[in-house]
């Protein structure tokens, strides 16, 4: 029951989902429809599980008086605030409600800005770390510079051949290379899925008995 049963369920669910693709019969397709809803539900519950874990981590930090417990408190209070606004405010998530305002004016700016930091880091790395030390990295950097120029309006102005070269890079060498990677990664994904279904790969079960 502890190890074999979940493996069997995994095998049955996986096999059914794989095989139904080839069977248009309604009996199979009706079951398939139902199972799709189950999978969605499980994903939703698994997500909520993540929230519970988050609360546990920060609660422990506060209880054990970790150095940065003040920040953990910020996280937990923010979480409670959002849940409060979402569940107990009259118009819980319509546009313009406090719940939506918090999202649009707190979450959106912070997340959007975090990734824009990378523009600065790319620039500094461009100066200090991107080196054409080998034939490979030289090719890479030259192609990169052509594409960078070819995709901005000023590239068209400098020379009309730059956008043409950019297009060629994207549609020929880039296409061939990415197609190769796509096939390789696709095969890897399928092999992993197969091993999961067959119970060879069982990391998802975690440790213990």
């Amino acid at each position: 029951m502890r190890r074999q049963f979940p493996l069997a369920l995994c095998f049955i669910a996986g096999l059914f989902m794989a095989v139904q693709y080839f069977i248009p019969h309604p009996t199979v397709q009706d079951m398939y429809e139902r199972l799709l809803i189950w999978l969605q539900t499980l994903l939703a519950f698994a997500f909520l599980l993540g929230t519970v874990s988050l609360v546990r981590v920060h609660y422990h930090k506060i209880r054990h008086r970790a150095d940065d417990r003040g920040y953990s408190l910020v996280t937990l209070l923010a979480l409670c605030l959002m849940i409060g606004l979402g569940f107990f405010h009259s118009a819980h998530h319509a546009q313009g409600s406090p719940f939506d305002r918090m999202f649009q004016n707190v979450q959106v700016p912070i997340e959007a800005t975090m990734f824009s930091l990378l523009a600065f880091y790319v620039a500094s790395a461009a100066f200090r770390a991107f080196r054409a030390r080998t034939l490979e990295s030289t090719l890479l950097l030259v192609a990169a510079c052509i594409v960078m120029l070819g995709r901005v309006p000023i590239g068209d102005m400098i020379h009309s051949s730059i956008p043409v070269a950019t297009r060629w890079i994207l549609e020929v060498p880039n296409l061939a290379a990415k197609r190769g990677i796509m096939i390789g990664v696709g095969l890897g994904m399928m092999a992993t899925s197969l091993k999961i279904i067959l119970g060879i790969e069982r990391a998802w079960m975690g440790g213990g008995d």
Binding site: L39, L77, I110
Partner: protein
């Protein structure tokens, strides 16, 4: 007025994150931890009202699936309960004694998703790509595409030593890969710069109304 205040809050948080460029500081850390809590709360509420409520709670308590009402008399009403129960089983992991029960749900979940992906991946990522690359040898471009793909696949072939013809093909593969990565590099830089432009536009346009 309310909008101005809210936009200012957004602007201050934006600047707090940028303060990280100077060095790590409490403002940045505050924003970082704040967003973890806010987003977790936001997602929780959205998950509940967009999915759990209409697709899980409503079918069980209001007894309908989609637009089809299913009364208690319907022979299938209990089926609507199963996904909810399986979902709740996942939470047994918080009780060490019954933690293993959660694996039943996990098994269906992991296996189901693994099975779903197989054929579409085979078709979309493998067969269609192979078919599209079986090109007539009538133009230089086609020859480039065929040789390029052949080289790339050879480079990622591990069952033989890269010697002789294989070695040459693998070298060709590397050249194609590097030009391809160059394109990714250029595009990634473009991406990051766009994000910065978006934030600057927010500060100058939406907040300060300078432009």
């Amino acid at each position: 007025m309310a909008t101005i205040i809210w936009t200012t809050i957004g602007a201050i948080l934006t600047l707090s994150v940028y303060s990280f460029l100077y060095k790590d500081n409490p403002f940045y850390k505050f924003a970082e931890h704040l967003v973890v809590g806010i987003s977790a709360g936001y997602y929780l509420v959205i998950y509940y009202f967009n999915f759990i409520q209409p697709n899980v709670v409503a079918p069980v308590f209001l007894l309908r699936i989609g637009n089809e009402a299913i009364g208690l008399g319907s022979s299938m009403w209990w089926l609507a309960l199963i996904p909810g129960i399986l979902g709740l089983l996942l939470y047994t992991r918080f009780f060490p004694k019954f933690g293993w029960v959660g694996r039943w749900s996990l098994g269906i979940y992991v296996g189901g998703y693994a099975g779903l992906g197989l054929s579409p991946i085979m078709q979309a990522r493998v067969l269609n790509q192979i078919g599209a690359n079986a090109l007539p040898l009538t133009s230089i471009t086609n020859v480039f595409l065929i040789v390029g793909l052949l080289g790339t696949l050879t480079y990622f072939f591990f069952s033989m030593k890269h010697k002789g013809v294989l070695g040459v093909l693998a070298r060709v593969g590397i050249v194609f890969l590097m030009v391809g990565f160059g394109a990714s590099f250029g595009y990634t830089v473009m991406s990051r710069v766009s994000l910065l432009i978006g934030r600057v536009s927010f500060l100058l346009h939406d907040w300060l109304h300078l432009i």
